[in-house]
Symmetry: C2
Subunit: 542 residues, 2 copies
Amino acid sequence: MQQPLLISSLLEHAERHHGDQQIVSRRVEGDLHRQSFAQLAQRARRLANALAACRVAGGSRVATLAWNGHRHLELYFAVSGSGAVLHTLNPRLHADQLAWIVEHAEDEVLCFDAGFLPLVEAIAPRVRTVRHYVVMTDRAHMPAATSIDGLLCYEDLLAAQDDRYVWPQLDENTASSLCYTSGTTGHPKGVLYSHRSTLLHTYAAALPDALNCSARDAILPVVPMFHVNAWGLPYIACMVGAKLVFPGPALDGASLHALIESEQVTLSAGVPTVWQGLLAHVEGRDLRFSSMRRTVVGGAACPPSMTRAFQQRHDVQVVHAWGMTELSPLGTVCSFKGRHDALDASQREALQARQGRAVFGIDMKIVGDDGAELPWDGRASGELLVRGPWVVSRYLNGDAGDPLVADEQGRRWFPTGDVATIDPDGYMQITDRAKDVIKSGGEWIGSIDIENIAMAHPDVVQAACIAVPHPKWDERPLLVVVRKPGARLTRDDMLAFFAGKIAKWWTPDDVVFVDAIPLGATGKVLKSRLRETYRGHRLPGA
Amino acid sequence: MQQPLLISSLLEHAERHHGDQQIVSRRVEGDLHRQSFAQLAQRARRLANALAACRVAGGSRVATLAWNGHRHLELYFAVSGSGAVLHTLNPRLHADQLAWIVEHAEDEVLCFDAGFLPLVEAIAPRVRTVRHYVVMTDRAHMPAATSIDGLLCYEDLLAAQDDRYVWPQLDENTASSLCYTSGTTGHPKGVLYSHRSTLLHTYAAALPDALNCSARDAILPVVPMFHVNAWGLPYIACMVGAKLVFPGPALDGASLHALIESEQVTLSAGVPTVWQGLLAHVEGRDLRFSSMRRTVVGGAACPPSMTRAFQQRHDVQVVHAWGMTELSPLGTVCSFKGRHDALDASQREALQARQGRAVFGIDMKIVGDDGAELPWDGRASGELLVRGPWVVSRYLNGDAGDPLVADEQGRRWFPTGDVATIDPDGYMQITDRAKDVIKSGGEWIGSIDIENIAMAHPDVVQAACIAVPHPKWDERPLLVVVRKPGARLTRDDMLAFFAGKIAKWWTPDDVVFVDAIPLGATGKVLKSRLRETYRGHRLPGA
């Protein structure tokens, strides 16, 4: 019974039990490529031999910069399966940030889609750890000219190898893959997953009340494979024998709808913005989904209007989920309990605005400022803490110290940085980011509500509400505002605008006007820098 | 990420996330008892304190002799959760065998339903290890008189304790429960499960293509909790938050149908003989199932006629499964692949005669006499071998030595003792028991076919076909027959009866007539004893 939980066993299972199941990929080259799980397994074994030939040892990092497709999938299994660490890079980051991450992760090989050559050429001069650059294409599509010496061709590497390879029986706690969090403060932090954490996450995520995946599904992961392993779907598909459909870089509504229909996709997964594009395309042309039954929405809260559009107009069930890079990523899924059969459609949609119940393996709680657990009454709001066998216990290289906090029983919890409520049935709903909450006189003020009101004023371009130290109340809200060019909005006008829209004690104590609000690399407001700037701001009456 | 996989976490999850979900038990006392998962957790904590008060230490064995009900479930969690080992005894065994098993397992506490008092009184004088006998009832239902000194009352034990108890953070490889195989030869052998193996089995068994369990299910485990943990359903219900319905000792068709309807059961599980009783009751009265959608059939092959009755007449999907005590028990489940949507009802029923595909975690293969793997072509038949994280690696106390066999890659497989075919889609079908197969000239002869033909002769009461050593063919079949009283059936008559019904070389070489065929404790033919008796039998022409 001591058999280890290994990623290679997912591939072996898929080959033996679902060898003829299909993997369909819209490729960077433009074609629609098809291979079976048996072919995937053969090519992954060739690739494992190629990695060995490139002297990639156990624990070595192999980076990818690629869209969703079969070669990326082959790397998932060959790299992790052979004992190395798959490091998925986010091509949407700036070259500076990518160069820093590649150096920090000590990536030795970088495999990338041909379209990312300019980005890689920008990074390469600045990184010293990478020994090999591999273009994930065939000889015919190799770039004609490049500044990178000795650029390798993925298909050539495979063609040079034998497809016999025996996956090593690793310790299940061996690191398998690496993903960096896109924190808005300081440097990104690396989260290492292990074979064990990945397998347990895969079991839990495939359960009926989670993503509910079976051999009868055709799964379209629109969520990129560089976003926390496409939420685990590549692993899940191998575990259950589901067809996989990869969209490549074509994430517009027209391309997605065509692929969903031609490949008879039953389950898709992505962020709300992608679905907005898909719905806009479909509704503008009165199109239908003939096979799609469910869509997983995560990465950001799913607007109720989107849930309604999918469910009422298209008979596609929305599966609202919440997770984090630090959780592999799945934490909660909004699936119904038996009692909810009695609800009408609008009541069910209201429930679906919540991020849902913890999947088995994850335990969660909300705590107040003093760390004491708050009740699950659907009203009390506190920081969300989680624990479980796929929750991170430390960042790569021990960066940022020990992230966990212990409770009175010695159990160690990961503070998610999210603020949430939990209702009596265990349905969690995110209400804010913890670091942005303003703690006034022992009560919490949510910054998002205040900003939404301010931004509704016709003279306001942008607004950010932050906490400023206060001698009596500990913290009070300060509103930072960018006015429209030429607008004469005053502090008193702004504060008067809150009257009747919010509890009086939530109204900011002061307003400052600025020319611009600092933004991070991913477009989020850098509230940490604002707090630093205004920590000495003297509030009226303080 | 190093959090151990523990049975107590199932209970904690059920309490926190599904605290008001119901457990309904038809009790030995005759009532229909209801409690919530929150109450289960509270009572399990009381029971854990009671076990500590009885000086039950980590690793100690606590035996049960009980039907399916809430107190048995409380023992499941309190015993394993506290670090002791739950040993479920089969009350259908003879007192001699039970006494041997209790001594062999070194059980320290024996908890039993009041109805089993006579059986326990028969065992008690012969076992020295048991320190406490506990009747699983309340004070009002305690037996008035008994030969057992200091008989304890379960409800009194609980009432004396506090419901605060912190489950220990055990090593996940700690033994959690114990079940004996009912082998037909030699002594029964103990199979120990661990917390880890139980949790992994629970994840895999709940998957959509396995038993497909969700919080919307109401699960009726008709399979006893002393049969390999009721196939894992008590653990699954806690993992997914499903309602549990326990039938107690009332397994007749009328009782089961009434319970299924009153509790709106959606999923049931049991052996074919129980379902025969249920179907006979339902069809004789033109009754219907208003809520039941699926029924899991295992423990013996499900006859196609039963599959048809459930599916065509009652719209209840049959889930044919195969497992063993040595596998916790689940190995394969017959669920469809996408391609099977194209089959008609009779083709789907034919497929459902197979025991199905391996659930993820279990790998399987069939091997010939030389140990070489046989093809998955649906025709080649060989011994079924399995491996996986919930497959036994040794029996309790090392009984019977090392049961595993290694392949050329050093992977260790458990020989199941079953002979099977596997088709190209990975659907396995059991065709015989390995030890009963007759190996003639390098080919295998299945004994079951020969016996079925012999027993179709009007003069035959019982027949058993066994292998006898042969100088040229290694083994040839010998038929052992019990004639009807007064029948004059001769050897030549019997052999002539096979003409045209079977391949000529499958026809037995000889027939012997006996007064009785030896049977084991569970009613199966003791072929091992027959082979011993006839090993020197001189076959004609040998």
